[in-house]
């Protein structure tokens, strides 16, 4: 029995080392690659990192992606939060429908959705605007499932009905209720939703690439063909940024760090014909 347990501990340790290597070596390799000098025996250099900002295509794309993050986040909250509160209070019958719709982007592959979005964006480019920031309209759809799950948890934790009725009976208008009662009470959930949205928008490639817009990931991919070092250092930087955001969530939330995948895999929400 004792020998069996010792053998099992060795097996566990070996497994953990193997899995650890599989997941850590590629990350380390990116660092290694981005600090290589040119030439065979060249010393380590930070050139690929320090020169990130000297590529105008790249800096434009970084700015565009950051703007997309902000616009997508704002749109998402304005669109989703009042609807979710209203549905909880007045249209409980509609809750299942809203939930189904919000989780639908997990089931419909992004590559499928974009086929249908191309004509819509073509129409918008001709009649309204062809600015890269219009991408945020489609990004709101991509972040819906994660934002919904996060804010649903937040709203479930407070008594929306009583709070709202109390505020209303004291003469608060609906906008006041939203801004001063609901939002402060679920600010952690909103923050989670915002950070998940930002992480998702920063990493988005499919929509931008196929609509021929150059966001951060598209710029990295294009630069990768010309200067692999800089594009890899930028990729690592954006990865670190997203990682820091997710760490912020787990500290601010003081709960189990919410994960995009946890929302994507909850069986309760996957009843439809679905995902990324």
């Amino acid at each position: 029995m004792k020998a069996g347990r010792a053998r099992f501990q060795v097996f566990r340790a070996v497994m953990l080392v193997l899995f650890g290597a599989f997941f850590l070596v590629p990350i380390g390799a990116m660092f290694e690659f981005s600090t290589r000098g040119t030439g065979i025996a060249a010393p380590r250099t930070w050139a690929a990192w320090t020169s990130i900002l000297t590529y105008p295509d790249l800096t434009n794309a970084i700015v565009a992606s950051l703007e997309l993050c902000v616009i997508t986040s704002i749109l998402m909250v304005i669109l989703l939060l009042p609807t979710m509160v209203w549905v909880r209070l007045r249209l409980p019958r509609l809750r299942g429908v809203i939930e189904f719709i919000c989780l639908l982007p997990l089931t419909i592959p992004a590559i499928v959705l974009i086929v249908g979005l191309v004509p819509i964006y073509y129409f918008m480019a001709l009649n309204i605007s062809d600015n890269i920031l219009t991408l945020s309209l489609a990004y709101v759809i991509l972040v819906l499932p994660y934002a919904y799950r996060s804010m649903d948890v937040g709203l479930a934790a407070i008594d929306v009905k009583t709070l709202t009725e109390a505020a209303r009976s004291l003469g608060a208008s609906w906008p006041t209720v939203m801004a001063r009662i609901i939002v402060p009470n679920i600010r952690v959930a909103i923050l989670n939703a915002l950070l998940l949205s930002v992480a998702l928008v920063l990493g988005e490639f499919t929509f931008a690439n196929l609509l021929s817009y150059v966001n951060l990931q598209v710029a990295i991919a294009q630069l990768g063909r010309a200067n692999a070092g800089v594009s890899i250092s930028t990729a690592v930087a954006s990865l670190l940024f997203a990682f820091v955001l997710l760490m912020v969530i787990s500290f601010v939330g003081r709960r189990r760090p919410p994960s995009l995948a946890a929302a994507a895999t909850d069986p309760q929400y996957l009843t439809s014909g679905q995902r990324t």
Binding site: F22, P26, T83, A110, L113, N209
Partner: protein
């Protein structure tokens, strides 16, 4: 619809003077949201599904769907399915193994917390960065490749398979294994030590336990998770697009090439037909997944 009708009837009965007016006004609150998702989620879906049945002259027939018969399309679907099956199976087995290692450890331990939060991040890790990570690792001048070459091991005896389907399988495992851990860990946690003790007190050994107790209980969860991994890999576009620069060996890349205008070969109709095929396959897989998950949920509670 019947629910709405009933409710209206109830309100009418209770408050004959107000009933007819209140209900529509309440519904207005959901209109902005429904209009938005209608425009950017449901309309694109309808465009894909309906567009697959309309030919280039605008008449309704199956000519676009017949393009699914073209050899390159059939080949792309075969490759996609093969890629997804392989990466799902390997990912499921490896992920289940990792989940088992975690589940048998301290439930409050640092290891478990680290692995589950890392899995949450890595399961969504993909696209350009992931492709670059593997190019930097086992690409032509990659860290591991060069290291192994210095020690007399060439991982590319023939061609550089990283930029082909075998490479995609390896790269996809990077998000498939964490996804498996996330999905399968709850099922493993549901296994009670008492069941093993019961097996042993009835004279069973480890093989009996896995074959007749834990195995049958975990099978639906394992199968369901494998299906989820299949759909996950089948839908993935960004990683493949960043890794493979030429040709369209899998369906998402083929669709991408068909709708990207700069390629000059764009054919939106055919793209819709290919996309409809993907919707059908993913829908079947995901419905089976949710059925299996519900089966698992019965004894997990």
């Amino acid at each position: 619809m019947t629910a709405a009708g009933n409710a209206a009837a109830v309100i009418d009965a209770g408050r004959p003077l107000q009933g007819g007016r209140r209900l529509p006004l309440t519904w207005l609150g959901a209109v902005p949201f429904l209009a938005y998702v209608g425009l950017f989620l449901l309309l694109p879906t309808v465009i894909v599904v309906a567009g697959a049945f309309v030919d280039k002259n605008g008449s309704v027939n199956l000519s676009e769907l017949q393009t699914l018969n073209q050899p390159y399309v059939v080949k792309a679907y075969m490759s996609s399915v093969l890629l997804s099956v392989e990466s799902a199976l390997i990912g499921a087995v490896a992920g289940a193994l990792l989940a088992y290692v975690i589940a048998t450890g301290n439930p409050q331990g640092l290891l478990r917390r680290t692995v589950t939060s890392a899995a949450g991040v890595l399961a969504q890790f993909g696209g350009v960065t992931l492709a670059f990570a593997f190019i930097a690792t086992i690409g032509g001048a990659g860290f591991l490749r060069v290291f192994l070459l210095d020690h007399g091991i060439d991982i590319y005896p023939g061609n550089i398979w990283l930029y082909d389907l075998p490479g995609l399988i390896v790269v996809y495992l990077y998000f498939q294994i964490p996804l498996m851990v996330l999905v399968f860990l709850p099922a493993l946690d549901g296994i009670r030590p008492q069941w093993r003790e019961a097996t042993e007190s009835l004279g069973g050994n480890a093989w009996h336990y896995w074959r007749y107790v834990a195995g049958p209980l975990l099978a639906p969860a394992f199968l369901g998770a494998t299906l989820l991994l299949f759909a996950n890999s089948f839908s993935a576009y960004a990683t493949a697009a960043a890794l493979i620069n030429q040709g369209n060996p899998i369906v998402p890349l083929a669709i991408g090439n068909l709708i990207q205008s700069e390629v000059g070969l764009s054919d939106p109709g055919q793209a819709k037909a290919l996309a409809l095929g993907m919707i059908v396959i993913v829908a079947v897989v995901m419905i089976s997944y949710s059925v299996l998950q519900r089966r698992t949920a019965r004894w997990l509670q």
